[in-house]
Structures are given as structure tokens and as C-alpha cells.
Amino acid sequence: MTDHDEVPDRAADDDIVRAGGLLRNAMPVASFSDGFADRTMARLAAARVAIPPAVLRVAAMQRSFRLLAAAAAIAIVALGVHNTVIARGDNTSIMEAAIGLQPVSAESVLSYTSEALQ
């Protein structure tokens, strides 16, 4: 195209084909990193117990199940149900449901919570 050519206002079909080829060459099919389904399920479980979004975002970005567990613990404390859960003695099953992972002891809940709050 010379300086005197008019700039077209509509892309030609072969330009569209070319753009597609360029983009597909530059961006091969990508996939999420390993453990994506685990992270998503942990996040879904955490969402069910109303984890504060900001805490959850940090936990997910850190790819940290310990932090996710801590986030769940913080939410449980924040929701004011923690003492009730401990008193009923079924905190393990609640935490297990909350984070969708391994059972977590009361000691771990406290330790994860204090770790996350640092």
C-alpha cells in the first residue's frame, strides 16, 4: 500500500483469514496448570461457607490449600460458628466439607488461621 492509497474501512476476507492464522500460530492451545480442578473444587467449597473474596483471591493465587483451609477457618470464625462447631465436636467434618480436602484438626484450624493472619 502506498501513502496515496485510501485506508479501507472494512477488512478483506483474506485479511481475516491471515489474522486468524497469525493468532493461532502465536497462541498455541493452552491449558490451566496441574491441579486446576482441585483448586476450583476447594474454591467452590470455600464459596459455600462465604469466604471473604479478598482472602480467597490471595489463597487461590498462592495455589495454597493450606491458605484455602485458613480462609475457610477465618470465614467460620467470622461467621461466629467456630465455637459452636468446636463445642459440638464435629469441627473436623465441617472443615472437611468446607475445604473439600483432608480432615483438619482443631489445632490445625487454629494454626492455619494464625498463619494466614500474619
Partner: protein, 188 residues
Amino acid sequence: MIESDDDAALVARARRGDDDACRRLVERHQAAVARTIFGMLGSGDDADDAGQDTFVRFFQSLDTFRGESSLRTYLVRIAMTTALNALRSTRRRELRFVSDDSALEQAVDPSALVVPTDDARATRIRHALGALTPDHRAVVVLRLLEERSTRETAEILQIPDGTVLSRLSRAVLQLRTSLGPVWEEFTE
């Protein structure tokens, strides 16, 4: 129309709170969601975050999924909305913190004047895609990267077919201009 009996059965189980069904739906459709999210946001933590958001939103609104489109198309629509929201909030943050000087430096990037190596070429192409407005980028990702039809693209973005065509045309013209020699030398 639900894509397959398996999807329909898994969705029914997920509605009853079956986490194993939820996990299998994530595993089955994460590749389609990744294509959309990575096209819009690139790779990295933001993309992973948006991918998780997509599925969490889907599971939280399972009752509103009536199966009128395929599950994959429905998830891609949520992924696209999630990515567009992420881009808009990033843009708001940038407008608050990026100075006029750095915007000027980007506008006169001297590397735009030479033909780059393969890696640099790919980077340039990704940057050119990233420089499109979010609305134009969405059309390019669906039509050109994912090779969806104009109708499907319009359905996912919930815009008329004519708007898809006009955005695609403008986006391609912008790509051609910003890529310069990379555009001219490309042969498939």
C-alpha cells in the same frame, strides 16, 4: 440442547450437590474455558483465577441453566463475561496508577520498526491482541482463535450478527496496522 447424555446426567447430579459430578464437569470442560480465558487475559494467576471463577459461578447458578445452548457454549459465555469483567477492573486500576509518560512510551515502541524473531513475533502478536478494546478482543478470540461461527459468537456475546462482523473488521484492520512487517511476512 445439552451436549451429551453424560453432561446432562452430571448436571443433574451437580444440582443435587454431588461434588464428584462437579469435579468431572470441571475436568471435562476446563480446556474450552482455558482457551477463552487465555485468549482474553493471557496466561498467569489472573487467568487461573478467572477460570476458577467461571466454574464457581456456573455451579452457584445451576438452577438457571436450562440446556437451551450446549453446556460448553454456556460455560464459554460465563468465561467471556468473567474475563471482560476482569479486564474492566484491571483497566480501572491502570487508569488510576499509570502515568501519561508510560502510555507515550508504549505508543512509540521502537521495536515496532524491525522484523522480530519467532519468539518476539509471537510476543508482538499477543501484545497486538492485548491492545484491542475488550469488546473487539472478545470477537477476535471467539471467531479467529476458537474458530466459532459468526452466529455462535453473536450468541455467546449476546450481540447482533452485524455487530460481530463490524467489530471483527475493525479489529483485523487494527491488527494489520499494528503488526506491520509481521503481518506482511506471514504465510501459513
